[in-house]
Structures are given as structure tokens and as C-alpha cells.
């Protein structure tokens, strides 16, 4: 008989687990496969949760409005200690359901469209070229994270929003403190400083407008009353943090993955036109955003199980992207494969707003890095590269390279 209740039977694993290899899922996750498309896991506070690992089942669930992203709900699942007790703090976009979500997203999508992102490519290219010039001048060694992977998305999101890049040390640190905080007190402190900074910046911009997305939102949505100052501050905060924390990892882990697969890297170097395909396979293979958190609003039948209203549901991007039913030989990095329908940017109404910006950044950053420094190599053995914890965006903390 199949178990259909989350509360019966014992969870197979504590979630999340840390990776040991930077780009492969932890061994424990691959062992979960035998439990079918949905496995039962245990969160740090003891709460049982469904872990969705089937690609087809996950896509169906992410498109299902009976699964909620309402972080403000009093019993929304808590995956890391730092978010404990934050019920009521509503993060726009990523932490709200429709119709509120749709209202917020509609204000932003004109600014993140495919054409608009194509237009920012020359700017990203200039920044990437300058960063590589500086690296080459200082070389022949560098930390690829602080010297390259971090400033690329930071410069891009600052320029897009028109947030002064000169303040980047301040908000990068706070943003890192916020996502890396071990307690909710630490997270609150970092959050408070980021909030105050952006709140003040918006007020200054009201008096002295600039030419970014933030200024457009101030001139149109804030002026017309579609947004108030608090909501605009929160939206800016989400864009700033989301624009940094994932892309830096995608660039750094992407570079590391290519360095560890020289024959694949060679294919790219012979045919630079492959870059967009390489980036899609990297997004699938590395799955830097490891999982997403949801809560069921109603009972849902899926994969032979019943998710009950109120159940915690974790959707594993990593495991969906490594489902053998959808990808042949999924644990192999193969730039020639068609990685389509990967869920590296999620799926459903919350699918990444910044994905076309991220693609542009990744294609330009990785394409230029390996074109300009073809002899790039790791300066330490792979197992000495420090990596992020399982609950974080996945990627190296530092990446010592040489050429």
C-alpha cells in the first residue's frame, strides 16, 4: 500500500543537505529517487515536507495555483533558521500569490522583456571587458568570485535600476549578511539596513530623478499611487538581492564546471556561437537555485500521492533537472544536449523575472572569460574550493584561478 499521508511513515532525509562536489547533487538526494516523484523529508524544525523530484510532476505542481508562495502565512514552511518568525513580512513578487503577485509583476515586465535585455548587452559587455582587463593586469592569479562573478551582476542591476554602484560594498555585504544569516535577529539587522538605504535612495530620487527602472517606477507607479513608498522599497530590495545572489553563483559555478570539463570547454572555444546552448546546459546541470518552497492551499493528487492542504512542499530544481525521464544521462555535463524545459529559473507564475538579464550576463561573462583567457585554470585542487551550504544558492565562496 502506498503512503498517502505526510504524517505517516518516517521522512527519508533531513533537508537540505550540503553538496560535497560543487556541481553534483549530494549523494543523499540521488538515493531519494527510489521514493518516486515525491519523497518525504524533514525540515530543521522537525516539520515533515514533500520533496518534489519528478520533472513532469514538478512542472505540473508549479503551474498549479493550489500551491501557495505566501511567505507571510503564519505557518508557511521555514527551511532555514534565519527566516523563523518572519510570518507577516510580505516579500513582494516571490513571496505573494496572485492576484497581488500579478499586479506587482505587471508593473515590472516591460522592463525585463527580451528586447529590453538585448539592448543592455553592450553595457554588460563593456563592464565585462573592463573587469577582465583589470584581472589580466593584476594577474596571473585572481579570485574569480570577488574579481569577476560578483561585480558583473552587481554592475548590471545597479545600472538597470540606477542604484549608485559606488554603494555596492554596502549593499553587497548586507545582502550577503541577509541571505547568509544564521539567526532571524541577524537577518533582521541586515534587512533593516538595506531597507533604510533603499527607502532613503527613493526619497532622494523623488527630488532628483535619474534614468533607471527605479526612476520610471517612481515617476509612473509611485506618482499615480499604484505603489506606495514601502512597497516600492520592498520591490527594489527584492530586485537588488535577487539580481545578485543567484547570478554570481551561476557565473562562478558555470566557470568552475567548464574548467572541470576541458573537452566541453574546448567545444565552446572552437565554436563561440554555442554559448547560449552552453549556458542553458549549465543552468540545468548546476541548478544554482537548488529548491523552491511552497505550501498547499488545498488537497492535490499528484504522482500517486495526496498533498494535503497545509502541507509543506519543497520543489527540488536540482532533482527535477536531473530526472532521467526527461534528460538522458542527467548527471553528465554535455553542452551538445538540448537542455530545454529545465527549471533552473523555476516554472509557473513566479518563473524568474530576471532570466533574460541573467542569460545575457552569463553568455557575455563566460563567453568573454574563456575567449580572453584561454589558459585559465583552477589554482587549487577542486576539493579545496569552499562552497555554499545546502540551503543557499549553490556555488563557490571563493574561486582561486590562475593562467
Amino acid at each position: 500500500m502506498t503512503e498517502t499521508d505526510l504524517r505517516t511513515g518516517s521522512p527519508a532525509l533531513d533537508f537540505p543537505q550540503d553538496r560535497t562536489c560543487p556541481f553534483q547533487p549530494p549523494q543523499e538526494y540521488t538515493e531519494l529517487r527510489e521514493h518516486g516523484p515525491l519523497a518525504k523529508v524533514r525540515l530543521f524544525d522537525g516539520r515533515p515536507a514533500w520533496l518534489v523530484q519528478g520533472h513532469a510532476e514538478g512542472r505540473a505542481l508549479l503551474a498549479d495555483q493550489r500551491l501557495s508562495s505566501d511567505w507571510g502565512h503564519p505557518v508557511f514552511p521555514v527551511v532555514v533558521q534565519r527566516t523563523e518568525g518572519r510570518g507577516g513580512l510580505a516579500f513582494p513578487l516571490i513571496g505573494v500569490d496572485d492576484p497581488e503577485h500579478a499586479r506587482q509583476r505587471r508593473m515590472l515586465i516591460p522592463s525585463f522583456g527580451v528586447k529590453r535585455m538585448a539592448a543592455v548587452r553592450p553595457m554588460i559587455q563593456r563592464d565585462v571587458d573592463r573587469l577582465l582587463d583589470a584581472m589580466l593586469e593584476k594577474g596571473p592569479t585572481a579570485d574569480l568570485v570577488s574579481g569577476f562573478a560578483l561585480p558583473v551582476p552587481s554592475l548590471a542591476i545597479c545600472a538597470l535600476l540606477d542604484v549608485p554602484y559606488s554603494d555596492h560594498d554596502f549593499f553587497e555585504e548586507r545582502s550577503r549578511d541577509f541571505v547568509g544569516a544564521k539567526t532571524s535577529a541577524e537577518a533582521d539587522a541586515a534587512f533593516g539596513q538595506l531597507y533604510a538605504y533603499l527607502h532613503g535612495l527613493i526619497q532622494r530620487k523623488q527630488a532628483e530623478p535619474g534614468d533607471g527602472l527605479l526612476d520610471e517606477l517612481i515617476a509612473v507607479q509611485l506618482a499615480e499611487g499604484a505603489l506606495d513608498l514601502d512597497e516600492l522599497t520592498m520591490i527594489t530590495l527584492v530586485l537588488l538581492v535577487a539580481g545578485h545572489e543567484t547570478t554570481v553563483n551561476a557565473i562562478a559555478l558555470g566557470a568552475l564546471t567548464l574548467l572541470q570539463h576541458p573537452e566541453q570547454l574546448e567545444m565552446l572555444q572552437r565554436d563561440p556561437g554555442m554559448i547560449s546552448q552552453v549556458v542553458e546546459e549549465l543552468l540545468r546541470f548546476t541548478s544554482v537555485s537548488d529548491f523552491m518552497v511552497r505550501m498547499a492551499k488545498e488537497d492535490i493528487e499528484v504522482g500517486g500521492q495526496t498533498i494535503k492542504a497545509g502541507d509543506a512542499v519543497l520543489v527540488s530544481i536540482t532533482l527535477m533537472n536531473h530526472d532521467e525521464a526527461s534528460y538522458e544521462d542527467p548527471y553528465t555535463f554535455d553542452v551538445r544536449r538540448n537542455a530545454r524545459h529545465h527549471v533552473g529559473f523555476g516554472h509557473g507564475i513566479h518563473q524568474c523575472l530576471g532570466q533574460n538579464l541573467a542569460r545575457a550576463e552569463l553568455e557575455i561573462a563566460l563567453g568573454s572569460l574563456f575567449a580572453r583567457i584561454p589558459g585559465l585554470k583552477l589554482a587549487v585542487p577542486l576539493d579545496e574550493v569552499p562552497i555554499k551550504a545546502g540551503h543557499d544558492a549553490q556555488g563557490p565562496i571563493e574561486l582561486p584561478v590562475t593562467w
Binding site: 509583476r105 515586465i109 525585463f112 522583456g113 507564475i349 518563473q351
Partner: protein, 73 residues
């Protein structure tokens, strides 16, 4: 409902009320799909036959919110 469709069969239908502007359609088949000034999906005129194109066929699956459908006949 704000839906736009092409005239002849097979027909591509886009539902702009559902669209979240992710642009998967434009990336997969830029000769058929576009985004308007609101960042929402639109069909380029004169591509009624394109529903048979392999890239276009992939779009209903690629769209994260099922805003694109292709109906045969």
C-alpha cells in the same frame, strides 16, 4: 478574455491575461512571437502557417503559465 489568434488552421492562441512576460516563446520562435510595450506576448502578423514549425510546436510546453496553445484544425 484578451486572447489573440491567427485565422487559419492549425491555430496559435495566446492568452495575454495569463502571460507573465518570461519570453520563452520569443526565445524559442522569434519569427512568430514578440513582446509588446507592456512586455506581454503578441503574435507577429502573417505567421498563421508557422504553427507547424518545430520551434513553435515547442512553445506551449516552454511557456511557464500555459499562455500559448496550438489547436489543430
Amino acid at each position: 478574455m484578451d486572447a489573440r489568434e491567427t485565422g487559419s488552421a492549425p491555430r496559435i492562441t495566446v492568452d495575454r491575461d495569463r502571460c507573465i512576460g518570461a519570453g520563452q516563446c520569443v526565445l524559442a520562435a522569434p519569427e512568430v512571437f514578440t513582446q509588446d510595450d507592456d512586455g506581454l506576448v503578441d503574435l507577429l502578423p502573417g505567421h498563421e502557417d508557422a504553427a507547424g514549425d518545430a520551434h513553435v510546436r515547442d512553445v506551449p510546453m516552454a511557456c511557464p503559465v500555459q499562455a500559448v496553445t496550438i489547436s489543430d484544425g
